[in-house]
Subunit: 266 residues, 2 copies
């Protein structure tokens, strides 16, 4: 047999043929990719393990080989598998465990899994030429807030955020950002992603060393001028609209930044 193929000269595209009990539909290839991703992250496919072939998956999932290929394209792009012609598809080493899976925007959003944030300066209107410039605004008006991030009640990071006025308005009713001292596990970027019409797809980071400014040092309980890791992040939508500038100072004694990089073409 050449491909898979029962007969069906032209597949009706229908929501996606196969079963789908609860959740929303998604597409066939995404569903398959989700399944495989789960297997990879859960170590059901250990490091280096060979995954089923395209033909096998096409049979068991009752989809065409092309659909299987489409699913694998995403997994390759995510660095979860690598493929070798004539040999097969293999689970990429090191699934997750103690290592941050991959430097992605979603990672930044889920930073809060085992940390909490405590608001130290509530969201309010402000004039800031520099921040407005970096956000690409015409005027100098921004909205800004500041908070600490804690791990086991110990502060390890101070973050200040600046938002375009319109974007800040959408967060006006969020108590986590308006009541001084509020403790929560939200992230600003997570809140924005739920409220903005366009999803946040890009983040630009700049990482360097800085001397802790007075106020930051006071809140982090270190001496002013103590060397800290400074990370600036500028978030944007796919269309390039900049929606948040965040400047964080991390205590290096308690934090190191990890990323995993992949190669471009394949």
């Amino acid at each position: 047999m050449t491909d898979s193929g029962t007969a069906a000269p032209a597949g009706a595209a229908a929501p996606a043929g196969a079963a789908r009990a609860a959740g929303r539909a998604r597409s066939a290839y995404r569903g398959l990719a989700d399944d495989l991703r789960a297997g990879l992250l859960s170590r059901r496919y250990p490091d280096g393990a060979r995954l089923p072939t395209e033909a096998e998956l096409a049979r068991t999932y009752q989809v065409s080989r092309q659909t299987v290929r489409r699913a694998f394209q995403d997994l390759v792009a995510e660095g979860l598998v690598h493929r070798v012609p004539g040999r097969g598809t293999f689970a990429a080493p090191r699934g997750s465990r103690y290592l941050r899976q991959f430097g992605s925007v979603d990672d930044l959003m889920s930073l809060s899994v085992d940390t909490t944030m405590r608001l130290s300066s509530p969201l309010r209107r402000q004039i800031d030429v520099d921040a407005a410039g970096r956000l690409g605004l015409d005027s100098d008006v921004v909205q800004s807030a500041a908070f600490l991030r804690l791990h086991d009640d110990v502060p390890f990071c101070h973050t200040a955020v600046w938002l375009p006025p319109g974007v800040g308005e959408t967060l006006r009713s969020v108590p986590e950002l308006t009541e001084c001292g509020a403790v929560s596990t939200v992230t600003v970027i997570g809140l924005l992603d739920e409220r903005l019409p366009a999803p946040i797809t890009d983040a630009e980071q700049s990482i360097t060393v800085a001397a802790a400014p007075g106020r930051v040092a006071a809140e982090l309980r270190c001496e002013p001028g103590h060397p800290v890791l400074r990370i600036d992040r500028l978030y944007a939508t796919a269309a390039g609209e900049r929606v948040e500038l965040a400047v964080s100072h991390f205590l290096p004694e308690q934090y190191s930044y990890r990323v995993r990089l992949r190669r471009g073409p394949l």
Copy 2:
């Protein structure tokens, strides 16, 4: 007309029909992706500009619409374009200019575009339990070297590298790594990529702040203990074989690390 399509019931795959004067072939969709990528990086498509439609590209490049789609899939994965159903395909903002295009392994290889490296400690066999452990070796034997990276003859980074013995052997005949004081524009990772059988596809980074160790400080001409940006990089092949550990100390006054992050699924 539904798709593109002249007739040709079953396309002969042939090297790829169209023109190709000099270089090696590649595939049709990669060639198209290369062309579009060049146009995007060169600002021929400015920020937010709308690119030709799938149908248009299929016509002008004499390929099927599927092939155009395949090319766009890569560009989307690279974050160079974003697509909106019913509207079109758009150049992602901020092509390159003063900003490092994207945090990828290739970036690290081409770090040397406007910098030079000067060998301060030639490649030689050595015992190092820690490095061997991080490289996943059974024995404690490694090969190691150290060098400075210069910009305008000013050192801004000190790097030490450790290699598994077998990997180090492949670099034995490279004068840039064996003659003390040698000045060049190579990168260790670039040299390895040319010589190893398997390509290097992964790099894992850890970034933190450190006090400059004595020897590093002396070579960077700063006081010992000066706060510096420390970046550890562990390179591996797709199969997970670790081939190089590099520990770099950057003078933060002259260097900041920039990365651009993209969102996972789309």
